[in-house]
């Protein structure tokens, strides 16, 4: 069984428990093992643009905690965590001087990092797993939102085109293509000016609605906050259900709705006609 240190970050464990539950439910059936390290902290991304060195030290601490329990692969559920930890892991694996500098800081908390941990996004781990679909989701038309930090900037990330399309197709559901698909959720600007993600979400959800998608799927807790949790505040004359991809996958695999963080009504709607749950 492949063993990964599960990196939850700040948002998932508090505001996206359905995501965490569905990831755990799906992984346990696919031979993906998670090691939970309760002391993992913020990845450092939120402060990285202002305090790059401190953010790197925070990332290194998390990587070092994984290394200390003998796990050399870390998997993230949040795309911003993925990008930041990937960037940190790559810097520290290649730049001996920066590794030494970071270790001087880590010594103060009794840790040393040796640069051996690699970081993946959960979507990539699922992409490289085999799964068997038990329930028919072919009636569902799914609009995907990849999220910027899942595959930008390209110099840190090398992946097939539109990985979420492949993942959705493998559940048996149909992918809806729409023009604004690769647009950003604006979540990165939310704390400074909430109007930016709101305006961007309106444009995108309008597009998704016009292309007759039954639902919208994401692989990042922040994207989910922008499109899902904040959708009511946008004042749109329609609503678009937003699910985390592992919830769909779990449903297709025949996993019980409650284990995926889905209400009975949501599951019933998804399994019958698609569209908006009652």
């Amino acid at each position: 069984m492949k063993q990964y240190a599960l990196f939850l970050g700040c948002t998932v464990p508090v505001r996206a428990q359905a995501y965490e539950k569905s990831v755990r439910a799906v992984a346990s059936r696919l031979g993906i093992g998670f090691v939970d390290i309760p002391e993992l902290s913020c990845c450092g991304y939120p402060i990285s643009s202002v305090w790059e060195q401190k953010a790197l030290a925070l990332a290194a601490r998390n990587l070092a905690l994984s290394e200390a329990v003998g796990i050399s692969q870390m998997v993230c559920l949040c795309s911003a965590c993925t990008l930041h930890l990937k960037e940190a892991a790559s810097t520290l694996a290649q730049d001996a001087q920066r590794l030494q500098e970071v270790n001087q800081h880590l010594l103060r908390v009794g840790l040393t990092y040796h640069g051996t941990v690699s970081v993946s996004h959960i979507a990539d781990v699922l992409l490289s797993s085999d799964f068997h679909v038990k329930r028919d989701l072919s009636h569902l038309h799914v609009a995907c939102h990849h999220g910027c930090h899942y595959f930008n900037p390209s110099r840190f990330v090398n992946m097939p085109e539109m990985p979420l399309h492949r993942l959705v197709q493998r559940t048996g559901a149909q992918v809806v293509k729409y023009p604004t698909e690769l647009e950003c959720c604006g979540g990165g600007s939310m704390a400074v000016d909430e109007r930016i993600p709101s305006a961007l979400a309106k444009l995108k959800l309008q597009d998704v609605y016009e292309h007759s998608a039954d639902l919208f799927t994401v692989v990042c807790p922040f994207c989910h906050i922008v499109y899902g949790a904040s959708q009511k505040k946008l004042g749109l004359p329609f609503s678009v259900p937003v699910y985390f991809y592992p919830q769909l996958l779990g449903l297709a695999m025949g996993i019980d709705a409650a284990e995926l963080g889905l209400s009975p009504a949501q599951a019933k709607t998804l399994l019958s006609q698609g569209g908006i749950p009652a």
């Binding site: 464990p13 508090v14 002391e39 060195q53 030290a57 930008n152 950003c184 604006g186």
Partner: protein, 145 residues
């Protein structure tokens, strides 16, 4: 001390050919007309750092501009550098000092306390450490606001 200095920042901004590819693909620009990566880079080049820094806070960090730029200016890195200089120039945005404060206090942006852990346990999820004093050790020191 930040690794960035203003001379290096200007050198990078000077590579800009003013083509506007970055601003054309910027999602923030599409909904907030007074923001654009090209304008930020230009302001930085001409020493208008106060204006450039103020604009930099609106960036969502999507990196689309980096990939669009034919000159490899990486506008998002100019924005990041302006932000990195801001504690020294007294231009730090309060949202970022607040986030730093939260991380020093609780190690994560959202508090995980006993109540939250009880809720996690009810959902069948493992408890997380409620106190992360290591984070304060790593983040403490003179740099924050």
């Amino acid at each position: 001390m930040s690794r960035v200095n203003e001379t290096a920042l200007k050198k990078r901004a000077a590579l800009c050919a003013y083509c506007g590819s970055c601003t054309a693909c910027c999602p923030v620009q599409s909904v907030a007309a007074d923001f654009g990566p090209r304008a930020v880079a230009r302001c930085a080049l001409f020493g208008l750092s106060a204006e450039a820094t103020e604009a930099s806070w609106l960036c969502a960090g999507c990196h689309k501009c980096d990939m669009a730029c034919p000159q490899d200016v990486r506008p998002s890195e100019i924005i990041r550098d302006l932000r990195a200089l801001s504690p020294e120039t007294g231009r730090l945005h309060p949202v970022f000092s607040k986030q730093m404060e939260l991380l020093i206090r609780q190690g994560r942006l959202y508090l995980v306390d006993e109540f939250e852990n009880d809720g996690r346990e009810d959902e069948g999820l493992p408890r997380l450490a409620e106190e992360l004093p290591d984070v304060a050790v790593l983040l403490g020191g003179g740099e924050q606001a």
